[in-house]
Symmetry: C2
Subunit: 427 residues, 2 copies
């Protein structure tokens, strides 16, 4: 039996989940993995804070050095979140020869090169399965099951909050605000939901996944981000008529070393497996040249699903002691500025607008699309409110900039009252 003394940095919801699993399944872990996980120290801001689990007071400390300098502690679980001081703490801990398991997407997305380098130089393990999609083992699958693949594409529903909201809007017909309120009531959305609904959370995760999949450092700042706050009931209704569900997709594509990375609301066909990812679930679709299409689906958040990934990482770190895997990426590949990012991608577009219901309007708008090399695949026209009508165009594959230019010109047409929404379509 290998005994591993661990310390926690932070002990909120996720930390408590890890604690619960270690306790509940200790026998399983002893028996199957030959490992006994022993919690030696917990770093918190306030020792006297009331916590849901009653642990001996002397486990807690407010001093990071009590952990860094404790030679009995061989592994540190970081669940404090945020960029600093998490980054500093992780570096100190690794430099003192301890393995690290973290659930912190921000610190991994922003500082993977530095953290990976420090891990390698000190011969310690850096594990971060829980930083993306909680218990879904997408990182290990990319690193240890798809090595025989050139990965060309990732499409992920990797934010449970927005997926819950969009599912609610699609299935109950409520608007964004009501769906958000419901998500907040259930604890799926924060009181300030900006980070989730504007796509930042998904962008951090996509930065990590695309870096690993493409072996090219993709900085989160290079990722195009568009949130879901503008999605209206009408978009969902007309999308359904066209056979689409709307999802906040995190998309990364690589063609001949040119990379697209973008997070935005996206229509996908209702029979696409990602369309079946409902509520707060996550799903990540990967395309490789050997495996073809692979998807992983599961809970992307929550104390126990996240804890599942963390405890698995702890166990794997123990098995790999002193022989951890590192990413074989060159100095050049680690430099974010070397990634060739294309923001003028090709996609199909769903474009909804309100126009005056007059003869010739359709021809006029179609003419503008044509002028900008945007060809139309289908049109739905709906009359309403007497003089106004809704028109929905779905384009064939077109370049982002061409579509933008076309829409700019369309907006100037006197017959066009408003371009209500533009939503990209992925098949």
């Amino acid at each position: 039996m290998q005994v591993v003394n661990i310390a926690f940095l932070g002990f909120g919801n996720i930390g408590t989940g890890v604690y619960k699993i270690i306790n509940k399944n200790s026998e399983l872990i002893n028996k199957r993995e030959g490992i006994k996980i022993n919690i030696k120290r917990i770093l918190v801001r306030d020792i006297n804070k009331k916590r849901p689990i009653d642990l001996p007071k002397d486990l807690y400390t407010t001093e990071i050095n009590d952990i860094v300098e404790d030679p009995d502690i061989s592994l540190v679980v970081e669940v404090m979140g945020g960029e600093e001081p998490a980054r500093q703490y992780l570096l100190s801990v690794m430099k003192s020869g301890k393995d690290v398991v973290t659930a912190n997407k921000e610190v991994i997305a922003r500082h993977l090169p530095e953290l990976e380098k420090t891990a390698r130089e000190n011969g310690v393990g850096l594990y971060y399965e829980a930083s993306v999609a909680a218990g879904i083992p997408i990182i290990k699958v990319i690193r240890e099951s798809l090595q025989a693949n050139n990965i060309s594409e990732i499409k992920g529903i990797i934010n449970g909050t927005t997926n819950y909201i969009l599912t609610k809007m699609s299935e109950s017909g409520v608007g964004f605000k009501d769906a958000l309120l419901e998500a907040q009531r259930l604890g799926y959305a924060e009181p300030d939901p900006t980070f989730d609904v504007e796509g930042m959370d998904a962008a951090f995760k996509l930065s990590i996944l695309s870096t690993l999949a493409f072996k090219t450092r993709i900085s989160v700042d290079k990722i195009y981000k568009e949130g879901i706050t503008c999605i209206a009931k009408e978009d969902i209704i007309y999308g359904k008529e066209l056979g689409y569900e709307v999802k906040l997709l995190a998309i990364a594509k690589k063609r001949d070393n040119v990379i697209e990375v973008r997070v935005h609301p996206t229509f996908i066909p209702t029979d696409h497996p990602l369309a079946a990812v409902r509520d707060a679930y996550n799903g990540i679709f990967v395309k490789g040249d050997s495996v073809e299409n692979l998807m992983l689906y599961g809970r992307g958040a929550g104390d126990l699903p996240t804890g599942s990934a963390i405890v698995s990482d702890i166990i794997n770190a123990c098995h790999n002691k002193n022989k951890h895997n590192y990413l074989n990426m060159s100095e050049e590949e680690w430099k974010a500025e070397n990634a060739v990012i294309n923001n003028n991608w090709e996609a199909e577009y769903f474009i909804r607008m309100t126009v005056l219901d007059k003869p010739g309007v359709l021809a006029r708008i179609a003419g503008i699309f044509g002028k900008h090399e945007v060809s139309i695949a289908s049109v739905i026209q709906k009359g309403y409110k007497g003089t106004n009508a809704s028109i929905i165009f779905v384009t064939h594959e077109a370049k982002e900039l061409h579509v933008k230019n076309a829409i700019e010109e369309i907006r100037t047409e006197p017959v066009v009252i408003n371009v209500d929404n533009v939503i990209r379509v992925e098949n």
Copy 2:
């Protein structure tokens, strides 16, 4: 750069797929994994057979000893299939100190205890990711990502042939025979499709998955098997009315050390993620007490998807050289006779019958169900052909034996012309 000399046992479709990947992605594998895979020898039955790939004649041999006794070969890829001589060859190869990667579900399902023991005794690796669901890394996920979970349930669509046939029947409205012919035409079904359509193939895979998930040896002979040949268009039509899709599910459940293992056509709700697994795709749903619900989806067959898993296994075997993982199961757990299997499971049932269209028939049949403790959740009655009617009952959760007894009695009723089908429902 680690050079690994490998040999193939067999070189059909899958072997060729592995060869293609090793060639196409050799640079990727060199660069990212530090491994050069070198094909040293290929065991075939007929050296002079025409093959799709042109390799030097002296690579081929018909003598297993040319491989077993070659000290330069450190890893053997078995893609010959079948129980014997594959089992004997694998044992010999491992006893000579070579690692083994196999795609052979039969030999793994039937002989895992012996093979695992031999691997452990000889300090060599035994890798068999490709034996279940090709490129979907379900075995590695169960073994190396879900260690912190008590797994209570597996539900899998793990046979592409039957899933293609059922999808075709569901989406094009054709009958079983026509769908089978189409599957054969496309190469998804063998000329003799028995092994697939009768559930044997899925049972072999379920035996492997349930043994790994429950750490209890589940022999394939203990698995209840029922094929899809009896699924009629009417079942699919009425199923849809009730909100179900039909799938050949491989189900394993564990409650308090009592295990159910069964392969049979199953209705699942159309919004279940497994219902979105269409055509020849596979999907495997796993429930664990920490991760909650997890599903993996992808190609469950084909030369490249299977090759993806095999090459990944080769790479992992190289990284783990002399420190392979073995299953921590006791002698008692390895004995198939020790598994407590329950064949009297509880499920909901869809029961379709043809009856005389007379007053009182429904009450009479409902009465028989009640007598056998089977309670009815919903009924659809359809009149047709004058004097006959179709009735579909969907039960609440009921015991398999109670349902069987009820149906036996219902069959003896003069008003019942036929009990057309009984299909279990999983939610």
